[in-house]
Symmetry: C2
Subunit: 340 residues, 2 copies
């Protein structure tokens, strides 16, 4: 039983396809009576518009793309992604739009995919996560006139809408905790902190590092920085480095980029007999359920990532509908949770 087409509905209602189309789409210029007749016919036949035909004649798809240049391990374990995806989804679903997700090995592959999506007219717009200092996606987006919204701490391009993330504030919030802890230590204890961040290619990592160094320097606190590529097999290596800093430089606190790394670090340090937070405090810049099931629980900067997803989706929709670049800050209500 092939699904009925507009032609079937038009015949059933005794009007032309054009009129049926207008009636069904609420376009002005159709008498109330025929509009009703058409609607009844469509309902009787159980007509639903063909997605592809609509996309072809309207030149818009109702689909938004998200290419993720992360391994499926990372995507599967880092809470950030699922929360983000859930938020995007939630907002798009409100207006019957869909999200197309594709995992790619690296940012080059991501750029290629974006270019292909643009050429195929596959999506109405794309979301950009993990903004980089030199971001190859920018050129692709600009060159193809692709509508895009990024989550980023600084602007990527005048053509890309942005959900601005205040990384300075985020770093300040967690440092406040660690500095306070340092103040409680005996006079002769070391005053040294570490930022265990992601790869320096990322905007947010460099923004955090800069702020971290500034603050430490202003407070007369020693500062070290290590960059991780977040791969799980690296955890024990990072642990050794953290341990060395603790023992040799008197490091007493670590700011960790994400919940996963923080939790794993906590476990490894525990094995090495380091007490957290007494010997070494850990604060994560991303919160999740992971931080609540370790012992002790991990102190983490909490933000509503799902809400960030909703905001980002809303931004892109507005960008497309109004044809203008939009910016927003968010999500609000960030707070450090836990007492580690």
């Amino acid at each position: 039983m092939p699904s009925p087409t507009l032609a079937d509905v038009a015949r059933e209602a005794g009007v032309s396809k054009g009129t049926a189309s207008k009636a069904l789409n609420g376009v002005t210029g159709v008498s109330a009576s025929t509009r009703e007749r058409v609607a009844a016919a469509a309902a009787a036949l159980g007509w639903t518009p063909s997605y592809a035909a609509r996309a072809l004649s309207r030149a818009s798809t109702g689909v938004f793309g998200l290419a993720l240049a992360r391994s499926s391990e990372t995507v599967g374990t880092e809470s950030f992604f699922m929360a983000m995806v859930a938020g995007l989804e939630e907002e798009l679903a409100l207006t019957d739009r869909a999200l197309l997700i594709q995992l790619v090995p690296d940012v080059e592959a991501e750029s290629e995919l974006l270019a292909r999506w643009a050429a195929e007219r596959r999506v109405d717009g794309v979301f950009l996560l993990d903004a980089r200092l030199e971001d190859p996606r920018t050129a692709v987006v600009e060159h193809n006139g692709l509508a895009a919204a990024a989550m980023a701490s600084s602007p990527l391009s005048p053509m890309i809408s942005r959900l601005a993330v205040d990384e300075d504030l985020r770093m300040d919030l967690v440092l406040e905790r660690l500095m306070a802890a340092l103040d409680e230590l005996p006079e002769d204890a070391g005053r040294h902190l570490l930022y265990l961040g992601g790869l320096p290619q990322f905007q947010h990592v460099m923004a955090r590092e800069r702020r971290f160094r500034e603050r430490c320097s202003a407070a007369g606190v020693g500062a070290s920085v290590l960059h991780s590529d977040y791969q799980q097999h690296d955890v024990s290596r990072w642990t050794r480095e953290v341990l060395a800093l603790h023992r040799e430089a008197g490091c007493r606190g670590v700011v960790v980029d994400n919940d996963l790394l923080a939790a794993q670090l906590l476990v490894e340090l525990g094995r090495d007999g380091v007490r957290v937070p007494e010997d070494l405090a850990i604060v994560a810049l991303e919160d999740s359920i992971l931080c609540t099931v370790t012992s002790p629980a991990i102190t983490a900067l909490h933000r509503d990532t799902r809400e960030a997803g909703r905001l980002l989706a809303r931004l892109l929709v507005r960008h497309i509908e109004e044809g203008t670049l939009t910016e927003a800050i968010g999500p609000g209500g960030m707070v450090v949770r836990g007492s580690g």
Copy 2:
């Protein structure tokens, strides 16, 4: 700069649209020389086929749908979903297919969405997770002739391909652990176990419960079952019930449906002074990083969920290409990890 169309390529190569189409699609019946000329023209112009036009004329979309009747909280925190999605993605990407994901509030909404996708010819097929005893999606799939593949412990319909999950085996594997632990207890200790499962509407939950009761009964072990809707705010309630069973019925071990619930239960029990596993052993039927960062680490049945996703995707692709129902068992290599 509008993207070039097939007509542009054909003009550039000096052939008809039809010939250009055949040449580009590797259809037989085109001379090698024109095929080359067309390919060169396409490359020169940077032509990429319009997705919508192709979908319309081919009556197939290259898109597969996954509707998830779970709250975005659950999807964002339960490791199963992301791993599954990553696996589906990974397999589909190999053949340039895409995954369309949509979150819906409940299984009724999911059924409606599937019906709409079918009517809109939006997807080539759909994936079905969380199979239910009375599953309303079955009728929708059958009625609309939608290609579907489910992950399920028993068949949903002769029209639906299936990745068979052996829940009996899964329960046996974890019970083996718990029974062995019981055997080490002093003579006068209680011999009683609990299965903390999801909602009884789910196939897998009932399959597990049945097996759990059978095994316990065969071993002369007392058996209790509690059903949770997995909502986080319920954890303390479940903890109280578990505690009561431990104290009053002498329950010494709990099989928990998933990693998240197990981890939370462990934390709460710890607060109440219950030692795990000495007083009460916990084994989870789903493994994840969560199980490794608690202390003690949680013993869990590990399976490669990403591989399950790949298998499920492959199943649906084959189902569609060969037009026949396919079944598979998997993924293999399940093993209980940890010593809790």
